[in-house]
């Protein structure tokens, strides 16, 4: 704050430059020149962080080497010193060590920022710096305020108090255009492309190359897009419309967008949630090279292995407050989790031992042309059976066929020994089945409806009196279940869309559990959910099983599969390749079966 007051003449100029005209040209030139002046006075908080970091430098170095080896990425040991040397304008070039890098002003700094929505304080007094050439992780449970921070940096929300500084000068974003002009690119969890426009147009939007008549230079635009795609190593046609792109390709287009804007700050809000491992690795390679070229990266993810693989620094948030900003190398994953949730998660997978009861679900020889073939398994009461396998192995498709959403060609599905009609979800529900789908936004919830209405939807008929629904019964039922699942919510009458991802998932669970099912099918129950909520969902599934519910879980997360399941059925390309008991299953044996290799145990 002191330094801000010391040089007030700097700020207005910077402000006007940034606000000037975002549509025409946002070359960041003048801003970078100023960075050298500001070097003298780094904020105190940062100094503290860096002091604590210094003694462990060696450890940090080692850790990074390890990571580099694991990932077999070529830019290995000098990774930490590299960013500084790529900035020749800095006086520190050559002798640059990591300590020196920290003396640079942060490219972007969040200073004591608060933001409330109505009575809810989403973010309170959060500060952290984003340094050039560094990837900074932002972690916290769902609802900790990460997305609000992202939206403030993107210019969507304005902080109530506190300031954002870019290259040492305060900025005030009046909209996303200002943030863009300041060199901040944001990749949201859900891609924000224009489906009707070509991929090249999506990338160039607002920044299209122009001919002398100020018309759009299409040839140039397509050439630019092609160059970016080549750099990213993706074979996308720039002229194709964005409609129909896979999520992974959409994310890559978003990255190309950031590249084309020559963003100096790249903010990624859970970019990996919907990506496969291969795609994540590809994304990381691109992000690493951006980082090494001097961009400041902010990375939000619930997967700690990604954070340790990519990030140098981490800021932990809890309930909208800043908990700590530290070097990733100084923290173990357990440390991070403990600080995130503010309590120990000793039992991450609290599976209770249950004596399985009678057979609830029996699937025999289920086949669907081109999707899956000859699937047989059974599930007993009190058992959790996991369907494991790679993405695309047909796990979800099998369960959707069992539930009757999708048709199947041959085979039988029996519940409590009674054969179910195919392709009739109604019959499946009547038989006591409940399906919590993978995509809760599209299949699980009606986003605009209230929480209570969502919870009671599947049994609205049962709750209705004389065919009419009364608020009271609805509320009562909803309250019981949301409380039991510890859902964080304002009022039951709020729209579901206003909840965080983890809490939305709880509402989906509440919705189906309220029907009192005998068999619960959950598809990726903890995708995109933070660690704390994840553990709650696991505990809940375990206690439900202990109460005699049969659970079928489709999951891509091996630790979850191994930790929760009594039996694991592994699918590969639509066929069962292994059925393993809890004792037999190891990460290796499941992966081998999923990849089609011989089980070597």
């Amino acid at each position: 704050m002191a330094e801000a007051n010391a040089r007030p003449e700097n700020r207005p100029a910077q402000n006007s430059q940034i606000k000037n005209d975002p549509t025409t040209d946002h070359s960041p030139g003048p801003a970078t020149n100023e960075t050298t002046q500001d070097k003298a006075a780094p904020p105190t908080r940062e100094k503290a962080a860096q002091d604590s970091a210094a003694p462990d430098k060696q450890a940090a170095q080692e850790q990074q080497d390890n990571v580099a080896q694991e990932k077999a990425a070529p830019p290995a040991p000098d990774e930490t010193t590299k960013p500084a040397s790529t900035r020749p304008t800095q006086a520190t070039t050559g002798t640059a060590k990591r300590d020196n890098k920290n003396h640079e002003p942060a490219r972007l700094e969040v200073r004591n920022v608060s933001k409330s929505f109505g009575a809810v304080a989403a973010v309170q007094g959060v500060s952290f710096p984003l340094h050039p050439g560094e990837a900074h992780a932002l972690v916290g449970e769902n609802g900790a305020g990460k997305s609000t921070i992202v939206k403030m940096l993107a210019g969507v929300h304005r902080p109530d108090t506190g300031t954002l500084r870019v290259d040492g000068s305060d900025v005030d974003f009046s909209g996303p255009a200002d943030a863009k002009a300041a060199g901040i690119a944001v990749i949201y969890q859900e891609p924000t492309l224009f489906p009707d426009l070509s991929v090249a147009e999506n990338i160039a939007m607002g920044n299209q190359p122009l001919t002398r008549l100020r018309q759009i230079d299409r040839k140039q635009m397509h050439a630019n897009a092609e160059r970016l795609f080549r750099r990213l190593g993706v074979p996308l046609d720039p002229t194709r419309p964005a409609r129909g792109l896979s999520i992974a390709d959409q994310q890559l287009v978003e990255i190309a967008k950031a590249l084309s804007a020559e963003a100096r700050v790249l903010i990624m809000d859970e970019p990996t949630a919907a990506l496969s491992a291969v795609e994540v690795e590809r994304l990381f390679a691109v992000v690493r090279s951006l980082r090494d070229e001097g961009a400041a990266i902010m990375f939000i993810s619930h997967r700690f292995e990604e954070i340790t693989a990519l990030c140098q620094r981490v800021t932990i948030m809890r309930d909208g407050r800043h908990v700590a900003t530290e070097m990733v190398a100084d923290l173990s994953v357990d440390d991070m989790i403990r600080r995130m949730v503010g309590r120990d998660l000793s039992a991450l997978f609290p599976k209770q031992e249950v004596e399985p009861g009678e057979v609830v679900l029996e699937v025999e020889g289920l086949s669907r042309e081109g999707v899956f073939r000859d699937i047989s398994f059974s599930v007993r009461a009190g058992e959790i059976v996991a369907l494991a396998g790679l993405v695309g192995a047909g796990r979800s498709e099998v369960m959707q066929a069992v539930f009757g959403v999708d048709p199947y060609d041959s085979g039988t599905v029996k519940v409590h020994g009674r054969r179910l009609k195919r392709n009739e979800p109604r019959a499946a529900m009547a038989a006591g089945m409940a399906l919590v789908p993978e995509d809760r936004r599209q299949q699980g919830l009606v986003m605009d409806l209230s929480i209570e209405r969502n919870v009671t939807l599947p049994r609205a008929r049962k709750l209705a009196r004389l065919g009419l629904l009364f608020g009271g019964t609805e509320r009562e039922a909803a309250e019981t279940w949301t409380r039991r699942l510890q859902t964080k919510l304002g009022r039951l009458s709020d729209a579901v869309g206003t909840l965080s991802g983890g809490n939305q998932q709880k509402v989906v669970l509440a919705k189906w559990l309220a029907t009192g099912p005998k068999l619960l099918i959950v598809d990726e129950p903890t995708r995109g959910i933070d660690v704390g909520t994840k553990a709650e969902v696991h505990r809940l599934m375990s206690s439900l099983a202990a109460d005699g519910l049969a659970v079928v879980m489709v999951s891509s997360e091996l630790p979850e599969v191994l930790g929760m399941a009594d039996r694991i059925i592994v699918l590969r390309e639509g066929r069962v390749t292994a059925e393993l008991t809890r004792g037999e299953a190891t990460e290796e044996s499941v992966m081998y079966a999923a990849m089609g290799q011989e089980v070597a145990v």
Partner: protein
């Protein structure tokens, strides 16, 4: 696992494969389809009655199309942004009556003043629509349905059953519609200029592409830093102004203007736009497609008259065309979506 090999391989291979090419062509066939339908219709009618191709008949068709095409241009721009302007018929009426009154009171005013006055009346009306939609956060369908009645009501209460007759209007104003420049009637020329400029703006200028982007994904447009408010107001002002211009052309062509001028035109305009291939949910379609739609609807009207088919059938045919157009769009979209997905079916 083919993913890995595909993706990591350097992409020297030429981009674009048959599936994509086909997808691109399918998109282009949208306007081609209208041209084809038009050709068949004209050919069939001309065989039945060769006079359909006479100079006078063609001239009438083009003159009748001109006013509709001018309004369709503005409407197309609004619909592309995922909105709609139902007030254009009333704006036409208000503008026509304003200009006709003005010209009858000031016989010496040049034509250009009349045009500017019409544009101004329309622009103000359009601005009000835009402000209500953007800042009132009311869906455009509701706002413009409301202003449809408001603008019409203003015209009625002002005119109060009176009308401006052709003999009250200055001669140069009335002959404007029929005067030619290089053999092309002014009316048609103006329509061509409007359609051409509109197409160029939407296709080749940043603001045009931003309007497409806004219609394609409103939320993403906000996040992309597009000046959504400015663009949206611009679209409604444009639509209003062009409806105002259409009012001037209407007064000049028909000479007699009462408060009911342009009553029900909005539906013709929307029909032209939809038949012309502009997606009702925004984001795709072209201005010149909409103009072709206007031409097709006009020609259908006159062809039915020539073929001696009951005029009442015309409305049913227009309705069928609208449904056909939307079905075709859905079908094409689904096809393209499928072919694109198939190509990416690696995840």
């Amino acid at each position: 696992m083919t993913v890995t090999s595909n993706r990591s391989a350097p992409t020297d291979a030429p981009l674009g494969n048959p599936a994509q090419k086909r997808a691109g062509n399918l998109l282009k066939t949208r306007e081609l389809g209208i041209v084809l339908a038009l050709a068949i219709l004209v050919a069939y009618t001309a065989i039945d009655n060769p006079r359909f191709l006479s100079g006078q008949s063609i001239r009438d068709n083009l003159l009748n199309t001109a006013i509709l095409a001018v309004m369709a241009t503005g409407q197309a721009v609004v619909v592309i942004t995922r909105n709609i302007d139902l007030s254009v018929g009333s704006v036409l009426g208000l503008s026509a009556f304003t200009v006709a009154t003005m010209m009858s009171n000031n016989q010496d005013l040049p034509m250009i003043v009349a045009i500017l006055a019409g544009l101004a009346v329309g622009a103000v009306a359009g601005l009000l629509n835009g402000v209500l939609v953007r800042y009132g956060k009311v869906p455009a369908l509701v706002v413009t349905l409301g202003t449809l009645y408001i603008y019409r009501g203003i015209t009625y209460s002002w005119a109060g059953g009176s009308q401006v007759n052709a003999d009250e209007l200055p001669r140069h104003f009335l002959t404007f519609a029929n005067d030619n420049l290089l053999g092309i009637p002014w009316l048609v020329l103006i329509a061509l200029i409007v359609v051409g400029a509109g197409s160029l703006m939407m296709r080749n200028y940043r603001v045009g592409r931003e309007l497409y982007a806004m219609g394609s994904s409103p939320a993403a447009a906000e996040l992309a830093g597009i000046k959504v408010a400015r663009n949206l107001l611009g679209a409604f002002v444009l639509s209003g102004a062009l409806a105002g211009l259409a009012g001037v052309l209407y007064a000049a062509r028909f000479g007699t203007v009462d408060a009911a001028a342009g009553n029900g035109y909005e539906l013709n305009v929307v029909a032209a736009v939809v038949v012309g291939g502009v997606a009702v949910f925004g984001g795709s379609g072209t201005v010149w497609g909409a103009a072709l739609g206007a031409l097709l609807l006009t020609v259908i009207g006159s062809a039915l008259a020539v073929l001696d088919i009951n005029q009442f059938w015309q409305q049913a045919i227009v309705g069928a065309l609208i449904i056909l157009a939307i079905c075709a769009d859905r079908l094409v979209a689904v096809r393209i979506g499928r072919s694109l997905r198939k190509r990416d079916a690696h995840v």
